[in-house]
Amino acid sequence: MTNEIERHKYDILVIGAGGAGLRAAVEAREAGLRVAIICKSLFGKAHTVMAEGGAAASMGNVNENDNWMVHFRDTMRGGKFLNHYRMAELHAKESPDRIWELEMWGALFDRTKEGKISQRNFGGHEYPRLAHVGDRTGLELIRTMQQRIVALQQIDKAETGNAESNIKVFAELTITEILKEGGKVSGAYGYWRENGKEVLFEAPAIVLATGGVGKTFKITSNSWEGTGDGHALALKAGANLVDMEFLQFHPTGMVWPPSVRGILVTESVRGEGGVLTNTNGERFMFKYIPDVFKDKYADNEAEADRWYVDQDNNRRPPELLPRDEVSRAINSEVKAGRGTEHGGVFLDVSKRLSAEVIKKRLPSMWHQFYELAGVDITKEAMEVGPTCHYVMGGVEVEPDTAAAVGVPGLYAAGECAGGMHGSNRLGGNSLTDLLVFGRRAGMAAAAYVKSAGTTQVSQSAVQAASLRIQAPFTRTGGENPYKLHQELQEITHNLVGIIRTKTELDDAIVKIAELRKRIANITVSGNREFNPGFHLSFDLDNMLLIAESTAKSAVLREESRGGHTRDDFPKMSTTWRQINNISSFDGTQVKVSQQPLPVLPKELFDLFDPHELEKYMTPEELAKGGSN
């Protein structure tokens, strides 16, 4: 069997073809190396296309007071000071260059009056900072990167006669395993989705850029590809995941009709006057204003309504509380039996604004729901609830190189890497995260390959990987992968969702372990030709590992912070702020241990007002004033 396997030899293998993967590939190719890009779907379809708002970079085009230090502060605040400071620093410093570079490759951002790249306001950013193209910024980014790859291939074709001599895209291919020899990366193994034929890649360096894990949850804004492949491949290869308990739930995802379940209803719907009500018709958000926000948010409808016309003399409507607060409130209403039969609440903008105004201010929202679901938001309420949107946790990396800790030759960038966003990501920071760390990963992987040289893949490693791919067909009468996926999603939704408690998390850990036993017995019908059931059986294995890591990290972290809310520990803890939860895999189960969070160095510590830091840090930390 093994001698029939298709083999390829590259310097660097990039797994994932979204913004981070493509940026890494460009960098590695420009460093003179041969790169293979693997995508699970067609080239140019990655989930990056879904990003709407923009890419945060302190170019200062709209407000010249903006600079990397302000951006750094905003990112740390957003992450509630659990971010790896060095990643946030590099990101804030390098984002403007990464955006300008896109323009040199043909990107066309919206402009200011002076003809510069326009920048828009966004939650958590002190100044207008998001470079954007209407509400399709992610598409612009992915298409620009895709076209940059094509441009490089055209150059290669002119020089070598072969467009794919230095960069080749392997579309619709799944990687099932990272191979190692002598503790170092030696390649990867996988199969073509089209025909199930197995493929071996020999490469001394791998960049993981596989994105998120949303499909582990029932309601998610992620596509089928968000199955945590990179997270799981890294774990199985001996790398660590950091802080997997932190998941961002967007408070207003559509829960009904099914055609749009999980799709985001942008925050601007609430900003324009959208009101949240329960099934009793009660505008419930007034009940959920936390003490710290009481002076900023209206506690009665009359004042909240006045805010839309007079923002100076009235407090904001409570629908505009931070994402985590709104998510928790919706969740509480539904749990108290005041939600819709589909587990959501109502969001209505039609009563406040005329159809004409809605279509003008929220054109894509109106258009999207009308065309996709027949819901006319100018006439009726939307049914919304929290949807799993983004994972802050990810592969533990060295900030400057994006090198995965513990596995020489392995790198990770973008959503599948952890640390950058701490416990909560600011909108707009992910697109520049992809570019900044995609580039750094490509650069560092290239330097590593040049110094480390090639490695050999052993026959036994190949055989083991091949047997694993064959297994689902060799069993009979076992479990249906679709059914197991639904069961997993029920467990995560009900027990590891937005509000967590010890008893439920313990229950989830037991149930996930039971599921893990059952997936060892998955059977797949049909043959290897483009067989979604077969594909799902591998994705499912990855998702189970992610769910286990998330549940086990969540039960340990006895505090509420950003994308992790514990009903039994509702406050932030200064002790837990100093700790990262590190997941590792011993071959049978995920183990979670604690590790100190790197301490802010003095020059970054000094960028903050000490009074602000008091909310997050212990008196001892404040007295030290940073690490040196």
Binding site: S41, L42, F43, K45, H47, V49, M50, P96, D97, W100, E101, E103, M104, G106, L108, F109, D110, R111, G115, S118, V133, G134, R136, L139, E140, R143, Q147, V150, A151, Q153, Q154, K157, E194, S223, W224, W256, P257, P258, S259, V260, I263, Q368, E371, L372, A373, G374, V375, N480, P481, Y482, K483, V524, S525, G526, N527, E529, F530, N531, P532, G533
Partner: protein, 253 residues
């Protein structure tokens, strides 16, 4: 309000295939892709279909529904009368791989043949200044989600395999138009090449491509026709060509 749907789904591979009748439940508000997923999970586990975002933004779930090229994620079940059979087939212009999945590599080959964006020599990152009104022309074409429905419906290649080698198709005409109208692009002769190398002349502006575009890009009116007109102008008037290039460079403030 669940209803029973009678689907006829094409199943097969490059060798052979046939329509298979499937009865499946559809819930209120569902789109065709939801129903296909239910068939996949409950009846035909190995039914092949491409999809990604399920929000009309990635252009993966292109197929033909009752003979019309459409995105399955943007086709509501309620748009079909109760009791009507819905026939779902793969894109006809491209070779079948399996069931509803086709080999769309033709499009990636054509993408490779279009000369890339070329900024002015010596331009530095952060320097470009462009007016919003000037970028909007190209931005319309950059909305393209590469679903390739326009390619599928275009009769120049839909039933004429022999034209494929000399015809890039509507998707790539808007790519050329986008670059041609790009305020920073300095490559000459894009329109001429569109005519001579990419088959622009074979298009006889029936606007089928515009009709199927889920992004409502005015492919024919805003890209194809202006290029056809100007390529004719320039053919007979070299001064006009020169003038257009100078104006374009002035766009770089």
């Amino acid at each position: 309000m669940a209803r029973k749907l009678n689907l006829r789904i094409w199943r097969g591979n490059k060798e052979s295939g046939a329509l298979q009748n499937v009865i499946v439940e559809a819930n209120e508000g569902e789109v065709v892709l939801d129903v296909i997923h239910r068939v996949q999970a409950e009846q035909l586990n190995d039914l092949a279909v491409r999809w990604n975002c399920k929000a009309g933004k990635c252009g993966s779930c292109s197929m033909e529904i009752n003979g019309k090229p459409r995105l399955a994620c943007m086709t509501q079940v309620s748009s079909f009368p109760e009791g009507e059979e819905i026939t779902i087939t793969p894109l006809r212009a491209f070779p079948v791989i399996k069931d509803l999945v086709t080999d769309v590599s033709f499009n990636y080959k054509k993408a490779m043949e279009i000369p890339s964006f070329q900024p002015p020599v010596g331009m530095k990152p952060g320097e470009p200044r462009m007016a919003q009104v000037d970028v909007e022309r190209s931005q319309e074409f950059r909305k393209c989600i590469e679903c390739f429905l326009c390619q599928d419906t275009c009769h120049v290649i839909r039933d004429h395999e022999e034209n494929k080698s000399s015809f890039a198709g509507p998707r790539f005409f808007i790519r050329i138009a986008e670059l041609d109208m790009h305020p920073l692009d300095i490559l000459r002769n894009r329109k001429k090449k569109a005519q001579e190398e990419h088959g622009l002349g074979m298009c006889n502006i029936t606007k089928c491509c515009t009709e199927v575009c889920p992004e409502h890009i005015r492919i024919t009116d805003n890209a194809i026709i202006p290029m056809k007109e100007r390529v004719v102008d320039e053919k007979y008037d070299p001064l006009r060509w020169l003038g257009s290039k100078i104006r374009k460079r002035e766009g770089i403030l």
